[in-house]
Symmetry: C2
């Protein structure tokens, strides 16, 4: 079996893409990224990876809900009253939810319609105007693919695109950036069947490459600054047809449903 | 509140530290890292981060078990027979376990004595000689601190050290590198109380910086090559007294025990 990604002994650079304007519905996000690359005088090589924050993808796609248009259900009102939340936001969360995983102590961990398990079904009220909530993109893999095609065509080389968001994890404190949508690469590196340094066959090693790339990008993206995208250079990512949904564990293999 | 880490608009470099010899018990691991830095003619700046794979820390510390010295219990034998595992390895796993989280379908998810929740309580038989298993370091924070002091003294600047291992996650496919031991920095960045781009106060945003640094480092470390450590440059990590155990969610705040 051939590795999809050759771990290289050469350095990797994580480059913040800054200078993007405030993104609004209908914006050509790939176009804004292309302009940022040109302004920073970056030269794009084959196999490099763009990581783009979900928040600006959602804004460009108009995945925004005005809270004054939301009529909260009784369930949302009760929960909101108990924990001092905004019932309209709770209602939006429930609307994005396929399955409640945990709903206790003021925390809603939900499986979204896409299959992501995360806090508040990905609904967020930070970094958007007051009275507005953002939803996750309807199809992050599609969003990534559209941007990937536009970027590859503009730069004349194969590139990969990851749409990322910060998720919490059971058992561990703090959020990490993960990949929601993936295009132009394989999301997982499968080492199974390969041999370790002792010549033994590796059995259980599949690395979530796209999640690690998303986490790496977050180091320059930040929550407070206007750095909603990053470019990873020096990688030798192979072209591939992976997707963000490859990173979602199927129900039948999930011990923690 | 002051951020512990200033997200910088400047690039970050992930540099593989290669050329380390096969590590054996009693080796001076920090000394080997110092030599690798010198051989690669790297200049260490304040606030840079060394990420070191748990496997070589465990080897240097002699955290190895010869399987022919292990007498499996009946429980280990039954489980091993049912799923085609080595009963001696299962016995070692149970010995490292404080609490079984899941033990089904051939998978053991265990809470270690340190509090980490991971597959096989961190016991591993890859990249070690046949008939041997590695255990996690007894106290990864202590191991990180010892290395951190030696590295800071050798280079004359404050640096941080992370000891990393690849862990699986519920709900998501694939492993990602996380931080077991941390020294010289804060493990989490707390944005709570700060303001987003709209001037709203952020409530729930704590980023697992040390885990994201570990994941970034894995991009150059790999499972098959002899790159057991990486250096992250271009960061402006602040000195701090964080630890790997800061990343373990306390039982009372854990919805997934």
């Amino acid at each position: 079996m051939e590795a999809h990604y050759r771990h290289t002994p050469s350095p990797v650079q994580i480059i913040p893409l800054s200078g993007l304007p405030e993104v609004t519905p209908g914006d050509d996000l790939a176009g804004l990224l292309i302009r940022a690359v040109q302004q920073q005088e970056l030269v794009i090589q084959p196999g490099e990876v763009f990581v783009v924050a979900q928040k600006i993808v959602s804004k460009a796609e108009g995945r925004l809900v005005r809270l004054d248009s939301v009529k909260p259900s009784e369930r949302a009102k009760d929960w909101a009253a108990e924990y001092g939340k905004d019932a309209r936001v709770v209602e939006v969360v429930l609307g994005e939810t396929k399955r409640i995983v945990r709903m206790e102590r003021g925390v809603i961990i939900a499986e979204t319609h896409h299959g992501f398990v995360c806090a508040n079904a990905g609904v967020d009220i930070s970094n958007v105007p007051d009275g507005t909530a953002t939803l996750l993109p309807e199809n992050p893999d599609h969003s990534a693919r559209m941007m990937q095609q536009q970027l590859a065509s503009a730069f004349g080389v194969s590139v990969a695109v990851i749409i990322s968001d910060t998720f919490g994890r059971p058992w561990r404190e703090g959020l990490v950036n993960v990949a929601l949508g993936v295009a132009g690469m394989t999301a997982l590196i499968d080492y199974r069947g390969q041999h370790d340094t002792q010549g033994k066959t590796l059995h259980a090693t599949v690395i979530a490459l796209a999640d690690e790339l998303a986490s790496a990008a977050e180091l320059v993206m930040g929550k407070l600054d206007r750095v909603p995208a990053a470019l990873l250079q020096g990688l030798t990512i192979r072209e591939g047809t992976g997707s963000g949904s490859d990173l979602i564990r199927p129900a039948e293999r999930d011990l923690f449903r």
